[in-house]
């Protein structure tokens, strides 16, 4: 059994990790920390876990994380980088669901996250946990930077096009729509039901923290600098991201075949038939990215539609996938949920 600890389990990625890990046959949940809620049974905060998760929140000091095999950080940005070195030093593997280790350019990270990085050397060591590009490197890693939700959907959509060099990398557009759980379980007026229901809006058009993360990926796929515009929107879903990607074709190839071939062996990327439109609900609760590629009306525009559940393939599910790879388990262990429709 893999001994698992979770730091910061009072948010949505925390409860989603627990939902998935509660049924993982190789996992023993050892601790979940929250200084504020220490002593409260987890199932008192998240009643869906009643009868399934017995743990109570504990303080970091009592948690015994150093005796775990792997620790997940489901914390705000800036927490994992303070605690990771000590854990690695005692032989614990670390999977950070926040952004601390995602961006290799530490100066860029510091600019966007507005804090000084505590351990730039670990940024260099960390493996970006997108299995579809880094599976082999994940296998031997000590420290995984679990990708952001938008970055997962957008990178998987652009990946085949940029690797193949069949679009103009100088003018890439991602128009992305996220459900409200993406904003986290924080008390804020802007994400109240009476504010976010029956409402649709763009936000952070001037610059979103996922922009440099995505650009880093796109540039590595393309092997050169890219021009990339990213506009996120808030839509009245609980869960789900729909990324609509636009590029200008620079070669006339069979895009459907390109995507199918690229993702042929991938257990968690599903390329839909030509002409299809993926729906976010088809992946609700499931660790899947569904993708369709279009070339509308014979124009030179390429349109890619990419959907994930932001809390699963966009966060907790992908983290468990990374853990499965790390510990050489079947990659889909505890990730076989069928999407919940309706």
């Amino acid at each position: 059994m893999i001994k698992v600890g979770i730091v910061g389990g009072t948010g949505y990625t925390g409860v989603e990790l627990l939902r998935l890990l509660a049924r993982h046959p190789q996992v023993e949940l050892r601790a979940i920390t929250s200084r504020k809620e220490a002593g409260m049974p987890v199932a008192d905060m998240f009643p869906n876990l009643r009868g399934r998760v017995k743990l109570a929140f504990s303080t970091p000091e009592e948690a015994g994380l150093e005796r775990c095999d792997v620790v997940f950080f489901a914390t705000p940005n800036g927490v994992a980088m303070q605690q990771t070195r000590a854990l690695l030093d005692t032989g614990v593997k670390v999977i950070d669901l926040a952004a601390d280790f995602r961006i290799k350019d530490v100066a860029e990270w510091q600019k966007w996250y507005k804090m000084e990085h505590a351990c730039p050397d670990l940024v260099a060591e960390a493996v970006y946990g997108l299995p579809e590009i880094n599976r082999e490197r994940i296998r031997g890693a000590r420290l995984i930077a679990n990708p952001g939700c938008y970055p997962t959907a957008v990178q998987l959509g652009f990946l085949p096009l940029l690797e193949a060099g069949v679009v103009d990398a100088g003018f890439l557009i991602a128009d992305a729509k996220s459900g409200v759980s993406g904003a986290g379980r924080k008390a804020e007026v802007a994400t109240l039901f009476a504010e976010a229901a029956d409402n649709f809006k763009a936000y952070a058009v001037a610059g979103h923290r996922h922009w440099p993360e995505i650009r880093q990926g796109l540039e590595s796929f393309a092997g050169k600098a890219v021009g990339f515009t990213f506009v996120p929107h808030l839509t009245p879903l609980i869960r789900g991201i729909h990324a609509t990607l636009y590029a200008k074709a620079s070669a006339d190839i069979d895009l459907q075949a390109l995507f199918e071939k690229r993702y042929a062996g991938e257990p968690f990327v599903d390329v839909l038939p030509a002409g299809a439109h993926p729906e976010t609900r088809s992946v609700r609760g499931a660790n899947v990215c569904r993708i369709a590629v279009h070339r509308p009306q014979g124009s030179d525009s390429v349109v890619v539609l990419s959907v994930i559940d932001n809390l699963v393939k966009g966060a907790a599910g992908q983290a468990v996938q990374n853990m499965n790879i790390l510990f050489e388990l079947a990659e889909d262990t505890a990730l076989a949920d069928v999407g919940m429709l309706p």
Copy 2:
């Protein structure tokens, strides 16, 4: 392996059966029928099943249902009663998710369902599939009448009170609220998004078909006639039923202890601590009924709050639970999903 057939799989209870059975380790899905959609892969209609269910819809003639071990009817009312006898005669077990075999008084059934019953003798034989009251009889049955969604939530809420005889059975009220999937996957104006979203209404106050089904149960629990008022409401949920039950206390006992004792051994009924309020989302996708009992401000009113997912414990999940009991499997096989929250 249990060979399973499903008649009428194009509705919400059908897709939910498939979601659950796709992961059942003892089940081999053999056929799913739809005359209208014959030939279409099920996953083309329900994209959440892509990669998980390979079956295509078949006509009833081609389906080979008579070679199955059990057949689920996920059909409109009046279909199962036409086909059940032939299946039973060839040794196939039948679980009907519709209402054909739920009400023992055939004349009453005919009045509410406005058709003649095709096989009153099978009504007499059928076992009402509420495991919490009929587990032993289900075990040996050939034909299970799977309870309605409202009836499951309401009966489980009143059961301990009426068995114990601690409320006035002459004035029982169930104020029930259902998500829109309860109306089925039928093209109707009243359940369009633009009609049902941001809207709340009662319906069928003059009389709902679940009223006689519930009353039949309540009278069997109480051992006498009851006075029962049932008001269903449509609320903008996809899934979920919340039943709020009212009765007048006729004895002064510890209601919390009464409920906890009655459901102590039940795997799928969860009595919440005193003072709690169950939420529908805590059972979203899970085969659980969560119940809380209150006695507000020392009055003589008893208030019971009972929640289920109408498609799971209220339909497909309970049907799988009944199948597990029928075939002497662990009762929670394929029913271990944790509720999806958020």
Copy 3:
């Protein structure tokens, strides 16, 4: 022109007052106060008001409320009682949308609101602003206690029954469902979109502050003590209250005629035809209470369905109605909006 001031305009009742008053032909908006947001144009917080309301928030000191003809308090409980006497003394009329002056029994109020009342004498003077029972007294009042949202829907539903004495006043039940805006525009986890969407729950079954307010009204209608159970629920609507009321008939009269006669002259109460089910969306944005009365299946149960928009007839609209009565304007001035459907 009536010079109007609003204290505390950053919540939902505040913006709703502005939406209605912006189009009131006899009103001159003079000031809206918020110490925290002083200086910010109201339309920067509430973009629906762009181009329609020019005011900026001001501090209470700068607002010049004492030079207004009427001041609305759209504040948390306990604020209006601190400022009302000074305003009344300078001849300003006061309409309090909070609870400070609603309950005549000051001890009872103090128990439920957990603070000491600042001016019990003004509680005695205040007129409870439910025009359907108090129109004449409102006309000459200095101080109006605008009713709560649940109390408006519940009292208007029970009023004809209790006045006529045709139900058992000893066992009255109100099962009420509210949209999430009823919880106000406060940053709280429980009312986040990702918590409240696709979810339904009861709350405060042990005791809600609107219970004593409603009971006070019911007892005045009945002319005696009543037994009253109140269970509020949170439902995923932005706006809307649906109250389902239950009572036991004690006389056999024509309920439809009773309700139609009672509300014959009322501009803002609409009794639906026999057999109807009012929908909350039919009153979305409109200052109307729609009511239907049922006697299901000839039983002795009376069921009343009563719907309002909690922010209009349940708050700001009723406050404007009270203002219109106070200043002897046509009662429907600025209140002629048709409900927004869909």
Copy 4:
């Protein structure tokens, strides 16, 4: 008083026309036709209209449309073109809310709408009812082609850029999101609540009927052929369209000033301050298009955000605006509603 008739009032644009016209001080509603519902009071179908609209549906034969001053067609495509000539011949003005007269190229229209056009000469005469470009021509028209919902939001967003020639007209992208009422009040599975709630998807990427309508407008603004990609999405709103527009800057000018100047005199286009993000709810129920223009991070991408209520500025409100212009009334008569927020 202007005598008004409505053909086909059982859909969402029909009820929205009634909501607006019921309060129009210069309008006398004379008839609303529906062969199927003839005889039924309109308020029985749309309970928000109770007490405000007394009309019943009538057959076209009984309606006396030829005695009206203006007739609105709120019908499916292909109906207005059958009846318009007769009305025009008797001196009645016609405003068609469907697509029959929107596209000047009749062959193109026939290709997209898959029927033969009944009166190509009237297409030539019809004035496209987007007041912001055609106000003077509307004034003297007999026949108005009221724009589609997507076309209104997209054209108003691109208009200043293309008129000024400051973007590359060869690669224009509109990523548009619509609420579900845009699909109309038709019984269809795809727009059921349980299908469309908590779900997001693109549709018709291969080609949508609004594409040629929008392209026609964009080409007239640009004075040349354009390359235009249009991807519509369905989002769980009742009302609202959010269009996110992308173009490549070809000149370095002050975009904020450009937009503010272009729309300076327009009563129903609101250019937000630099950096803003319009929300659909800010225009809920209001006849306004709110627009913001961005140039993210100094790139050469121009991003325009444009929101409308699809039933108001995108349909019925704009139709009333056109009627006001036609009859030389104040353009905002009956269109002064403030957006309903929350």
